[in-house]
């Protein structure tokens, strides 16, 4: 790997790969589609993914293209058996998805807003995550779930959570968080092909962003992070949308002569300990940026691993930039203050490096 400073989604050193600039939500849909073509056992369920039905013909209307337009056009192509519109019964249909996974199918569940995972939490924790272990390895649960997290859209306390740490806490469940069109393609494909239950959480703020996506079919190995930028003075650790905040912060830091390295974790469980240690061994300073609330969070977990395994490399304490320990407020100014902003990261780095 070279030490280029470019913000390349493939990481520094991967120039000249054939591909194009695409929108996150289109890549999401195209990846679902490709996986459904690839494997007939893959099917989708979720509320409103058929977007209503004509009263007379009973044909699906696809009025919304599914929540966040993630499934646009799929019901016309695959039909309502494989694009299975579900009543508002999260506990029931997530449980049914697990049951179908235990018996040979590969269900993919759209949970719409991440907050709604709590309605189905018992099924996820007690059945999806534990079946293989408690039944002595007899079975597998090739289930994929996805949902949208994050504040910033005026949806207030019950539609804006980022508590993916609650999922990462569960042994048996894998958790991935794409941060751009490149990573959503590789992570969603990997999640669907994986034989364990995988939850993909995508921040709402990513949905309309565009980015470079290679043409080829690829998967991103679950549990691996990537470098978005190489630098020598400080490591900025991002996940989901905060990887974008970290890149913006790195640009601002460069203007004042601070050379930041940016890591995008991509997977939260399992996660890439090696990339954290490797980077900190070089920069000796680290700031972890997370939109989740700080107690028992991924930021805290990454900090613990660094303190445990890279302590001797550190020149300064590990810093975290996170949301406050509070629900998400409605008012826009408060909501902006709630989310870690690039300026918050810059301020923290300057303080950390005594650059004030």
């Amino acid at each position: 790997m070279t030490t280029s400073q470019a913000n390349n989604p493939l990481g520094p050193g991967y120039d000249g790969v054939p591909g194009k600039e695409l929108r996150f939500r289109d890549v999401f849909r195209d990846t679902l589609r490709a996986e459904m073509i690839r494997d007939e056992d893959v099917f989708l369920m979720g509320e409103d993914i058929s977007g209503g039905f004509d009263k007379d013909t009973k044909e699906p209307l696809d009025a919304w293209g599914g929540p966040f337009a993630a499934t646009k056009g799929l019901v016309q192509e695959f039909g309502p058996e494989r694009i299975r519109d579900a009543p508002i019964s999260e506990a029931g249909f997530v449980g049914a998805a697990i049951g179908s996974a235990l018996t040979g199918l590969r269900p993919v569940v759209d949970l719409m807003y991440f907050d709604f995972v709590t309605v189905a939490f018992d099924q996820l924790l007690s059945n999806a995550a534990k079946s293989r272990y408690m039944f002595g390895g007899q079975t597998r649960v090739p289930l994929t779930l996805f949902a949208r997290s994050g504040a910033g859209t005026g949806h207030a306390a019950q539609h804006s959570e980022s508590f993916y740490s609650m999922l990462a806490h569960i042994p048996g469940l894998k958790v991935v968080v794409p941060s751009d069109p490149y990573s959503v393609k590789g992570l969603l494909a990997a999640a669907i092909r994986d034989d364990d239950p995988v939850f993909l959480v995508n921040d709402k703020k990513l949905i309309n962003l565009t980015g470079f996506v290679p043409d080829e079919d690829y998967v991103i190995e679950l549990g691996k992070g990537r470098y978005l930028r190489r630098g020598t003075d400080v490591t900025l650790v991002g996940m989901s949308y905060t990887s974008i905040a970290c890149q913006k912060a790195a640009d601002q830091l460069a203007e004042i002569g601070i050379d930041a390295e940016v890591i995008d974790m991509m997977s939260l469980s399992p996660f890439d300990e090696d990339i954290l240690i490797e980077s900190v061994a070089k920069t000796h300073n680290v700031v972890i940026v997370d939109e989740d609330t700080p107690r028992a969070s991924m930021a805290s977990e990454f900090a613990a691993v660094i303190a445990d395994k890279a302590f001797d490399h550190l020149d300064a304490p590990v810093k975290r930039v996170t949301a406050p320990h509070s629900p998400v407020p409605y008012n826009r100014d408060l909501e902006i203050a709630y989310m870690p902003q690039p300026e918050d990261v810059v301020r923290t780095v300057r303080k950390l490096l005594g650059h004030e």
Partner: protein, 332 residues
């Protein structure tokens, strides 16, 4: 009709207030003065009005993401509601809740709730409090929810609980035919949701939810039963939302014009006007005076919201806990 003159005036004021609040709120949303997503309930004025006509501030209601009508019928202040939607410090929840989370505990309003089905057991709990304290005759719980929410397990658990414990609660299912774009005929296995009540040992009544008098009568019976200690009732109010699921949704993508027209022809406000003028219970002049007063109230609400200050930056950290005044601020 044995509805008092005052009650009729209240009903008309309430329905017209809901209608105009939703229209005004949408206008403000499109002007960019709302800070978030809003779910209008115009067309659905009759259920909250006909039910809350029997309630006092000691009774409790639970509500949904489409909660403005419930709030207004329970007597919440429209200026404080408008200011809340505008995210202002003077809003009903200090600008921290928004359209989907308006509550007023002083008025017996347990809060609008954005998790579908989540407020249903809260109304059951309020009824439990009443029974516990022996005040069922003056405090019942009413849970408002939609056809979509009727598929949530928590409704079924709540109905069974309320019946087993014989609680003074009314399950008020506003069946507007749709959950987002999904029609009830697709997502709900029963053609009348009220038929499910039988399985839980309570009366289930199908009501024309576009006719406030029909709602008033059915609710009157259900609430009298609850106050008399006879337990829960399920009301299914067949109604219609005139606008889309949320402010930016175009319902024409999934609803037929004939269907929309069918309900527009049954408009609850026009139906009320026609009924009371025909029966000479209220004059056209009286009705107009009420409308004029509501129009002024809406102008005042918008002005109040627009002129109100933003919440203090410190509000972000307030009220996470009661007795822990320094919760963890964002780590920076």
């Amino acid at each position: 009709m044995d509805i008092s003159k005052e009650k009729l005036e209240w009903m008309y004021t309430t329905m017209y207030r809901i209608r105009r609040f939703e229209e005004t709120m949408l206008e403000q949303t499109f002007k960019g003065n709302s800070m978030g997503v809003t779910h209008p309930s115009d067309g659905q004025e009759a259920p909250p009005t006909g039910i809350c006509a029997h309630l006092t501030e000691k009774d409790w209601i639970g509500s949904t993401h489409r909660g403005h009508g419930h709030c207004i019928a329970k007597g919440l202040d429209t200026s404080a509601m408008m200011a809340e939607i505008m995210g202002k410090a003077t809003g009903q929840c200090g600008g921290k809740g928004g359209s989907m989370h308006i509550a007023d505990f002083s008025k017996g309003m347990l809060g609008a709730n954005a998790i579908v089905g989540a407020s249903i057991p809260l109304a059951v709990g309020a009824a439990l409090t009443a029974k516990y304290k022996g005040i069922e005759n003056e405090s019942v719980g009413v849970s408002f929810f939609g056809d979509g929410a009727s598929s949530q397990g928590v409704l079924h658990e709540s109905m069974n609980l309320a019946s087993v414990w014989k609680l003074p609660v009314i399950f008020a299912c506003e069946n507007n035919g749709y959950a987002e774009a999904t029609p009830a005929w697709y997502a709900v296995s029963a053609s009348d949701i009220a038929s499910r009540a039988e399985g839980y040992g309570m009366p289930g009544v199908v009501v024309d939810g576009m006719d406030v008098f029909a709602v008033y009568d059915a609710a009157g019976e259900a609430i009298a039963r609850a106050r008399a200690g006879e337990g829960p009732t399920f009301l299914e109010l067949k109604t219609y939302r005139y606008h889309g699921h949320f402010h930016a949704d175009d319902p024409k993508k999934y609803r037929k014009p004939e269907e929309e027209q069918f309900y527009l022809d049954k408009d609850p406000i026009k139906h009320f006007e026609a009924t009371v003028t025909k029966q000479k219970l209220m004059s056209a002049k009286q009705l107009k005076a009420i409308r004029d007063a509501v129009e002024q109230e809406m102008l005042d609400a918008v002005e109040f919201g627009m002129n109100s200050p933003m919440p203090d930056a410190s509000a972000l950290y307030d009220d996470v806990y009661i007795n822990y005044s320094n919760p963890i601020q964002g780590l920076r």
